[in-house]
């Protein structure tokens, strides 16, 4: 039993990373109805910038954090300006394919920069384990877990109670209608890409805390997309709940099923969950179902 709980808690920590990546995807969907494949790259670049400031230039933690947020926000803004703004008013599927092109371009830049090496962040959070009732919790992961939860709360409040959040939700409904009621759709696109890039950057820094930075890192974006779709693309709560769940299921499944089927369960369990959820509830567990008219 204690072994199971330990696996579940380790999964919960990983799950908070998935939830953050998913949150950045949900943000973009919630305000523009564009589904983004490119966020895996934003995660990777967030981690890379932070590494650059912390290890490469030796800048103190807080200033490095600030600089890497500024840089990653700039990347988000550039993506929005160059790639997605020309597609406002086009079918949404074109924008989806565009984010796929952006993913590949950034992947090229990432691989070009890394040159096949791995980069490891120095330990920037307090090390050690917190032991509660026989379960050990690494403190650095606990800190990033709490940061993730706080970020989620802030984002939910933004969408629910501010005028900007209202404008974003209106833009998601219909670009043209929103524009005609006086919402600057172009600005909404810029703001949301900056915001979601920063969230992805936070996810990247939290990920690099537990993983190396190497060429497969951007593919965490696909896990984030799985979580976002399973939870419902327009639901931040769904992203949080399903993200944590997926982390737990992956870790527990890998621990108990790997000996039975011969390994590799961790890589595939998310996809199986995605297929099952899509077949039962096509709009995700917490998503709004849409009624279509001809």
């Amino acid at each position: 039993m204690i072994g199971f709980l330990q696996q579940a808690i380790t999964g919960l920590m990983i799950g908070s990373l998935y939830a953050l990546v998913a949150a950045s995807i949900v943000l973009v969907y919630k305000s523009t109805h564009v589904v983004s494949l490119a966020h895996g790259q934003l995660v990777a670049f967030g981690a890379l910038f932070f590494w650059l400031f912390l290890s490469g230039l030796g800048i103190p933690f807080w200033i490095g954090l600030l600089f890497s947020f500024v840089l990653i926000a700039l990347v988000g803004l550039i993506i929005e300006r160059l790639a997605l703004r020309p597609l406002i008013g086009q079918p949404l599927f074109t924008a989806f394919l565009m984010t796929f092109a952006v993913f590949i371009i950034l992947e090229g830049v990432f691989v070009l920069y890394l040159k096949g090496q791995t980069r490891t962040l120095p330990a920037f959070l307090p090390a050690g384990n917190l032991v509660i009732a026989g379960l050990s919790l690494p403190i650095n992961q606990l800190i990033s877990f709490c940061a993730a939860i706080l970020l989620f709360a802030a984002l939910s409040l933004l969408f629910k109670y501010t005028k900007l959040g209202l404008g974003m939700r209106a833009t998601a409904e219909n670009h043209r209608l929103a524009q005609s009621t006086g919402i600057a759709v172009k600005n909404i696109f810029s703001y949301i890409w900056i915001l979601s890039a920063v969230v992805a950057g936070v996810a990247g820094i939290a990920t690099a805390n537990v993983m190396d930075i190497y060429y497969m890192l951007p593919y965490i974006g696909i896990n984030g997309l799985i979580v976002a779709i399973c939870g419902g693309l327009d639901s931040l709560l769904g992203a949080l709940v399903v993200g944590l769940l997926l982390g737990v299921v992956e870790n527990v499944g890998a621990a108990y099923l790997d000996p039975l089927v011969g390994g590799g369960v961790k890589n595939v369990v998310g996809y199986v969950v995605l297929l099952l959820v899509l077949l039962v509830r096509p709009y995700g567990l917490f998503g709004l179902s849409r009624i279509e008219r001809i």
Partner: protein, 348 residues
């Protein structure tokens, strides 16, 4: 638009693919050139053409399900893997000849494609795209963990032979691959003029309206997936017997993304577009391959072997530029060129 002087006096003339004797001359001489190519082309060119033709077969399948039926599939490379493994297992473990294993692997890949296409009954758009990504990883996981597929070691099929003649070099396989490609292209081109092809287009344009008009969308969506995966299976089988080493590393998600990119650049919903797209991407790749050592020497900060990364950047940029400036792809450019050529010297 029709060439000048073609009046479609009968229904047969109206639906003809090839309308004038000039077309016939061009077609037949092109086919003769295609078959004589290995005699004067180099070994490198023959193997380049082989991989080009196999990609064309696979992307033709993708064109049917994504370009015509509107169901975006990122699973094409996994279905190609299914075809490759089926053909290898049939020839090695069951002693079936290649000539029977080729269509059988298409059918097996198609049958698995029906299972893979099942989510399309409930979801569409990018939800379906994500589901096909999931199917890709699940299929590859099965390939890596079943005994019969040789798991990580892969499998080693032998080249096909006919009456004692071994097709064991790229030049010899060239004839089989080209013949299959021509048959498949003809089949795909004709399929779009049948009832099923029209139904696919109806589903793409508006599935609800299509259903109201009496198109059985469930049946035709699954049919589209079957046909598309049949093409992928045939391509995979040819690939297996050409390379004679099959392992799961050769069928990555990136290949599936590349096929979608080829469709976007070539033009969705056009058979010539497949050829344009595949040629464009492959030639772009070759250009990057040749220029990257020069670039690496000129700009040392690029590292010693930037070819893979530069290839990714060039491919992504090409897709992005086409999405913004010519979403209908090269096929549309080709149509407008033909129209202006036929109208010359008039503007319209």
């Amino acid at each position: 638009m029709r060439p000048c002087g073609v009046f479609d006096k009968s229904y047969a003339l109206d639906i003809a693919i090839i309308r004038t004797w000039q077309h016939w001359v061009i077609l037949i001489s092109a086919l003769i050139l295609l078959y004589l190519f290995p005699l004067f082309g180099s070994y490198y060119l023959a193997s380049f053409m082989n991989s080009l033709a196999i990609t064309v077969i696979v992307v033709l399948g993708l064109q049917i399900v994504s370009g015509y039926c509107g169901q975006i599939s990122f699973g094409q490379s996994a279905f190609m893997a299914v075809g490759a493994y089926t053909s290898s297992i049939l020839t090695i473990k069951f002693g079936v000849s290649f000539w029977l294993a080729l269509p059988l692997s298409g059918i097996v890949a198609g049958a698995i494609g029906i299972i893979g296409g099942a989510p399309s009954l409930r979801i569409k758009g990018m939800y379906l795209a994500m589901a096909t990504i999931a199917i890709h990883f699940v299929l590859i996981w099965f390939i890596l963990h079943l005994k019969i597929t040789g798991s990580f070691k892969g499998i080693y099929p032998s080249p096909p032979s006919l009456w004692g003649f071994e097709f064991d070099t790229d030049e010899r396989m060239y004839y089989i691959i080209m013949t299959v490609m021509i048959i498949m292209t003809y089949a795909a081109r004709n399929l779009m003029r049948t009832k099923a092809g029209r139904a696919f287009v109806a589903i793409r344009d508006n599935d609800l309206a299509g259903e109201v008009m009496g198109v059985n969308i469930y049946y035709y969506k699954l049919l589209a997936f079957f046909i598309s995966c049949f093409f992928a299976g045939i391509g995979g089988s040819l690939w297996a017997h050409l390379i004679t080493v099959v392992n799961a590393e050769q069928f990555t998600l990136f290949h599936a993304l590349e096929y979608i990119g080829m469709l976007i650049i070539g033009g969705m919903g056009s058979i010539p577009g497949v050829f344009f797209g595949v040629l464009f991407i492959r030639i772009l790749n070759e250009i990057v391959m040749f220029t990257s050592p020069i670039l690496a020497r000129t700009f040392p900060w690029l590292g010693t072997s930037p070819a893979a990364a530069l290839g990714l950047i060039a491919f992504g940029l090409a897709v992005a530029i086409f999405l913004i400036f010519e979403p209908r792809g090269l096929a549309h450019k080709w149509e407008t060129f033909k129209a202006s050529y036929r109208l010359y010297p008039f503007a319209y």
